[in-house]
């Protein structure tokens, strides 16, 4: 099996290398063929690995493939840890990646960076697989940084566009903040557990549970709390949790397939995956779990609210991604790791679908992204319309869709949790359902119904996108609609994850849920009696009222009544302004100070130029000793001899 795992990782890498290095030679068709082939191989083998592990009864694989470096007693290995959690992630990553690869053939046609784009997304697939398949923290960190790098490259893919450059810079810098915490967490593990290997670390964990860390004189925290919170700070950067979320909306500057693959379905969920992977640590700390839950709840509700005021179709979906990531984080905080991963999976499908469908709309609209300039598109592009509707229904959790099962499970799990902050989290995610339904269908109605507000030339060219674009939409719509119904029972209630996820009995909300679970069908029927579904219906109804029935009066009226809250939302709570003034301005001020005093005066002025000047002057002086007169030379020799003689013979 080891060879198969290697092949899964290497196939996309080889594709990326060929497309990247020989892109010019093999042309557009060559580039997309070779990368799609690479990812298809990875997908096929991932399915095989999934089958072998889940039905074939293969035990958890955990071994080093080769040792990269050894220092003292530490081994830095490249290795794989393949269990049920990993194979699920592998299938999700490779399947969405494959769809996006195919879709890109249609979306990027005619772009001068065509081969480069395919090289990047294949490289991304490789990095993401390295991340999820790692058996140690070093490799996890490598994958973590590699996906960050590719994300940076792809947000700034159109590098002549200034907003894109600023956006990729922002993503990179904000992620550094998170990575700083993550790196400290890894260092803490290395320091206390003396290993970076997952399995060894978890073995040694019970012994470390009672260790106290005094990080400030007189203030002690337990070691698991410190490690868990540091690791979670890393997850906050990658999975865009408040207050490190600011980069994700701006990342929409990148091409749409990237928004679907990296900034919705896979990379941003790496933080969720990582926390689930480290569930044994988080379980040991109620404080860390509460922290995770509260951060997630804030993200889920407040980022959703921002979606209401956006007019760019991709930004609406981006804020909904933030909000959904918040849901997953809440689930992690409630110890419902399996529910978080379940939502991660369903979200990957329906959010990739939504983004790709939005991309299809954008193609049709000739790269116009403002939903106020759309309308009535349903009759021009029926496939996009239907698949977009499926994605939207899944997003709002319409009973029967995959989103319903995963999101409802999260809300129920939070309700069952007794940790501090659980009540706040419960109300946040509950209200979030209404908000989600409202902004989703606001967008949906504005795009596909109502008056056709685009200009005449655009309207005359409106038509359905080519097959290479609609095929991935259809293929993604199927799991977006159905995957929840078929997998909720096995994933959540049949011990699918086995030992991959560890939950203490005191935290085991999923067990509570299990008592009330009587099959997916029953859950659907029961859904209609719960407030969750009705809240989402209410959201849809309000959106319909505002944008279908009275589109000319109500939105204006609401904007006037809620003028002040709207201003707050338009400014995205002022996070960007705050960062610009305090962190941006502060570091610029500090940098200028260091530059003027430290660099110009001390280093350049005194040390570099000063010593160079001194040596130059000395050289010119000493040079004069070499007079060219023989008797001077002999004199110096004799003087040297006498000096040494006096010192050695008489003075020592």
């Amino acid at each position: 099996m080891e060879k198969i795992y290697l092949a899964i990782v290497l196939a996309p890498l080889i594709g990326a290398l060929i497309a990247g290095l020989f892109g010019r030679k093999i042309g557009n068709v060559g580039a997309h063929s070779v990368t799609i082939l690479g990812v298809a191989i990875a997908f096929g083998l991932s399915l095989y690995a999934f089958y072998m592990h889940v039905w074939g009864g293969l035990p958890t694989f955990s071994a080093a493939v080769y040792t990269w470096a050894a220092a003292d007693s530490f081994h830095f290995d490249i290795g794989f840890m393949i269990d049920h959690l990993t194979v699920l992630m592998m299938v999700v990553v490779t399947s969405v990646s494959l769809m996006v690869h195919i879709y890109t053939v249609g979306y990027m046609v005619g772009d001068p960076g065509y081969q480069r784009f395919f090289s990047y997304i294949s490289l991304f697939t490789f990095s993401m697989l390295m991340l999820v398949m790692a058996n140690n923290l070093l490799q996890l960190f490598f994958g973590w940084e590699a996906v960050g790098l590719v994300s940076y490259l792809l947000i700034g893919f159109w590098y002549k566009k200034e907003t894109a450059i600023l956006a990729n810079l922002k993503a990179f810098i904000v992620n550094r903040v998170g990575d700083f915490g993550f790196l400290l967490g890894i260092a803490a593990i290395l320091m206390y557990a003396n290993t970076l290997d997952y399995a060894t670390f978890f073995e040694r964990l019970p012994a470390l549970a009672g260790v106290k860390v005094e990080y400030w004189p007189g203030v002690e925290w337990s070691l698991p709390t410190v490690i868990a919170i540091l690791l979670f700070i890393g997850a906050m950067g990658k999975s865009a949790q408040v207050p490190l979320h600011v980069w994700l909306p701006d990342s929409m500057e990148g091409p749409t397939p990237i928004s679907a693959l990296i900034h919705a379905a896979t990379m941003v969920t790496a933080g969720i995956f990582m926390v689930a992977r480290f569930s044994p640590v988080f379980e040991l700390s109620d404080a860390a779990l509460s922290f995770v839950m509260v951060i997630g709840a804030i993200t889920a509700l407040f980022m959703g609210l921002l979606g209401i005021v956006q007019n760019d179709i991709k930004r609406v979906i981006a804020y909904s991604t933030l909000s959904q990531l918040g849901y997953m984080t809440v689930a992690l905080g409630a110890s419902a790791y399996s529910a978080a991963i379940f939502h991660l999976m369903t979200h990957a499908f329906f959010k990739a679908l939504l983004f790709l469908a939005a991309g299809s709309v954008i193609i049709a609209m000739h790269h116009e992204q403002d939903i106020r300039k759309m309308g009535g598109l349903w009759k021009y592009m029926p496939i996009t319309f239907v698949t977009f509707l499926i994605g939207s229904l899944a997003l709002i959790g319409f009973p029967g869709t995959s989103g319903f099962f995963s999101k409802d499970s999260i809300i129920l799990a939070v309700q069952a949790s007794h940790l501090p902050g659980a009540t706040f989290a419960y109300w946040s995610v509950l209200l979030g359902v209404f908000v989600t339904a409202f902004y989703t269908f606001r967008m949906f109605f504005l795009v596909f119904f109502g008056k056709e507000r685009m200009d005449a030339p655009t309207r005359s060219h409106l038509h359905e996108s080519p097959k290479v674009v609609t095929l991935p939409l259809i293929l993604l719509a199927i799991p977006a609609l159905l995957v929840g119904y078929f997998t909720i029972d096995p994933l959540l209630y049949s011990g699918f994850f086995g030992t991959a996820i560890e939950v203490l009995p005191a935290h085991d909300v999923m067990a509570t849920l299990h008592e009330h679970f009587h099959g997916a069908g029953a859950m659907m029927l029961h859904g209609f009696t719960s407030p969750v579904v009705w809240l989402s219906f209410l959201g849809v109804a309000l959106a319909g009222l505002m944008y279908l029935v009275l589109p000319n009066q109500l939105p204006m009226l609401f904007a006037r009544i809620f003028a002040w809250p709207k201003r707050v939302l338009d400014g995205a709570y002022g996070f960007d302004d705050f960062n610009n003034v305090i962190f941006g301005g502060g570091s610029r001020l500090l940098g200028r100070g260091f530059w003027r005093i430290g660099d110009v005066r001390l280093i350049d002025g005194l040390m570099v130029n000063g010593t160079a000047h001194l040596i130059g002057v000395t050289a010119l002086q000493w040079r004069k000793i070499q007079t060219g007169y023989l008797y001077h030379y002999a004199f110096v020799m004799i003087l040297g001899l006498i000096g040494l003689m006096t010192w050695i013979v008489f003075l020592r």
């Binding site: 160079a612 050289a619 040079r623 030379y633 110096v636 001899l641 050695i648 013979v649």
Partner: protein
Amino acid sequence: MPNVLPTIAALNLMPILPEMILAGMACLILLIDPFLPRHGRNVSYALTLLTLIVLFIVTLLHMSPEVRLSFGGMVVNDPMSDLMKLVSYVALAAVLVMSRGYLRDRGMDKGEYYMLALFGLLGMMILISANHLLLIYLGLELMSLAMYAMTAFKRDDGRASEAAMKYFVLGALASGILLYGMSLLYGVTGGQLMLTDIATALTHDSPSLALKAAVVLLVVGAVFKLGIAPFHMWLPDVYEGAPTAVTLYLATAPKIAALAMVIRLLVDGMGGLMSDWQPILIVTVVLSLAIGNVVAIAQTSFKRMLTYSAISHVGFIMLGILAGTQAGYSAALFYAIAYVVMSIGAFGMILLLARQGYEAENLDDLNGLNDRSPVMAFVFLLLMFSMAGIPFTLGFWAKLAVLQAVVGVGLWWLAVYAVVMAVIGAFYYLRAVKFVYFDAPTDTTPVNADWNVQGVLALSGLLVLIWGLFPSALVGLATRAFGG
């Protein structure tokens, strides 16, 4: 000692077979050269090279990890002498091959050049294998006299004659100092001349005044040929004044022989007095590193810059000796071999750029070499990087080895000082590289030097790179030379 003449068999002549071959061949060339055609000394040149090849093979075949004494113990052959001799042959061969065109262009292609080179080599070999104070003196003088004569080889050149004059007078002064030291040592040890006997005789707890004076005189006499400050004054003038082909000769193989003399005298003979000679060497090394690196910056002549760089390099070599450990000696030898390789290349660059009637000695002459010959420019870059001690070149490992040796005996401050001086030195090496790559050439004709000059230069660049990437082979040789 029994008053009976030893038989030929008891003399055990096999270990000095190379010296005998060399003496015989030198005399043979001396005899047949006058009968050869007036122009072109192809036969003498070929015979000289043949001699070196034969010597190389004979020495290689007789190599042995054991110490072999001959001539009643006066001559010693050990792994160190074998390695040093082999390096000397190769260095001399490289020098002769490179000098050929230069000598011909300047009408200096005379048979005497080859004979002097061979007699000088004989002196070096005797010095390398000497186990007796008189033999040391004999070898030193044989080598030095050949070198004086070679410096003055261009008789009608004022600069060369002046240089030879200075060299001869100061050399005589140094020989006098050395001889004075030897006679004191002879008296103090009660009439011992054999180095091994001297070592056993010097078992006093505290050395007498006379012995201390002898140590100072011997050290000064021994380091003169290396050009250690403050006994370096002759070196810039001689190297600059001598014809470049001779400078190349002076700067390479004799350094190995001089290092051998230092090791034989100080380590083999007066190892017990280390606490007395170590401080002297420390002072001279500190001075050498400062003068070599700082004054080089002020030079406008590339040739003169290289002579100051030579002063700095011998300072580094002495770092290994003053450490007084096996690791230190082998580091010094390793450095010396590396220095020979680098200076063949660096001084060879002057030969490369020189034309008939024009000596390309100034730093300006290097300008834009990259436009004229990219390959030679890259070789130049490698050589300069190596001299500056930039990883991963040969020079880096050489510096690392001597610094490790010094740190190994706890002389931290000296290692730090040496590194600071090396950083200062890096400035002028890199400045030369800058001239080659970034300045516009004053002379835009492509370089069309002999293939043998270019070939040897390329070889030295290659060695610097290959031994820089895989230093362990050379390190191993230098370590085994001291029984490690």
